[in-house]
Amino acid sequence: MNYSELTRRYFESAAAAGELHGPDVFRGAAGDRERGTWVQFDLQIGQGGVQAARFLAFACPHGIAICAWLAETAVGKPLQRNLPESAQEMRRRFEVPVEKMGRLLIIEDAWSAAALAAIESRASAPISRQ
């Protein structure tokens, strides 16, 4: 199938692929490799918000590209539980076929799980890693 230039660029570079470790890193994952899509985000949180982000994705090129874009664009921004833009908006941005909407929701779930872990950790003291 054909992919947009944006999708190809982020799929091929996948610059933020990997994992983070440390007491200020919060992890969220969703999906199942056996079912075709699995995504994990690691968010390193500091006073100013997201200081670093990494992802792992067993996913199609659209899925990998969106994860890479999310991990890249999140850095330096305040931590939010929700995605910086909705799954529908990301679908349009990356020209993802509507049949793949379910895969985007897995990405959203993984992101939300990581963000929620960070938010809950900050709400309780002392801060502990999930």
Partner: protein
Amino acid sequence: MNAATVNPARMPVYLDHASTTPVDARVAARMAEVLRSEAEYGNPASTSHGYGDAAGALVETARAQVAEAVGAQSEEVIWTSGATEANNLAIFGVAQYYRERGRHIVTTRTEHKAVLDPCRELQRRGWQVSYLVPDRDGVLDPKQVADSLRPDTVLVSVMHVNNEIGVVQNIAALGAICTRHGGAWLHVDAAQSVGKCPIDFASIGADLMSLSAHKAYGPKGVGALLVSQRDGSRGRVQLSALQFGGGQERALRAGTLATHQVVGMGLAFEIATTLTSVETARIAHLQQRLWHGLQEIGGVLRNGSATRAVPHLLNVSFEGVEGESLVAAVREQLAVSTGSACTSASAEPSYVLRALGRSERLSESSLRFGLGRSTTQADIDMAVAVLGREVKRLRNVAGTTGAARGASGI
């Protein structure tokens, strides 16, 4: 991609010869000659003038070439638009003709869609179809066929060379089984066979055989159905026609023949059979090199028997890699087929690999390498290098590098 912008120098290495082959330059030249001819453009069915006679002579020469290539008689060759039409004519033609004798058909789960879909349609119309499952290597035990036959069985349809894994079935054994049964005719889809391994229609006991030109360096849009004229103990196989309108091809396939197309198929088959032994030995060497190179990557599984297959096809699953991403990662450099439909969330993994017991994920992360006349050692080495690099990258992105990780374990 716009055809006008295609730059052959930047096209990926072509390793999809099982899908189709480039037209042999000699075939293309001969077809062009026929198209330009000022004496051979007549309707081959027109016997009232020399133009028709000249075209008819070309058609009959091509018919003899095809027959010679597969060990058949000229009068057994019925031209069609390709193997799909030949399969449809064989299956629907037998089912319709023998509908009062019986309505049971035997085939396998690993046939091409051009056989499975007609069988599904016959089921919808009230026929019963038994779908046999080959073993994990893709090999069908002839005893499975023997055990599945019933008094009302009218047709057994089994392919010769599998189009996804290259496994060669024991057609001669099936022919003997069908002959003993007495009422079951044997149809063989041999679309992949010509030029890859010898075929002798006269001796293997098949009653019907489908052939394709474009899998053997001939043109697309032409094929043939061999209809046996042997008078065995059970007589000759009979077919009902599926299209009407002129009585061509023994009234089994009406329509004016495309002279240049059948000429192309005849020459392509003649060339292919003369090259079979030399090319097969060369390609076997390349396939071994490819397989050894891929094994170095690690986490690769060969699909289908290594010993009961033509060397022109190699089907491999890559562990820990998502199928669509694998194809996307290599498509700029390698033209290969995939086990994933690659289009949507409802992508259907290869039903052939699923029938052999491969998981859905491994079926989707499979690639079919189709080696052919243009394939060189440099092509193979490049394929190994590209796949080594991209599989490693995708496993890193997926977190599946090294030992399988996570609950999914792939």
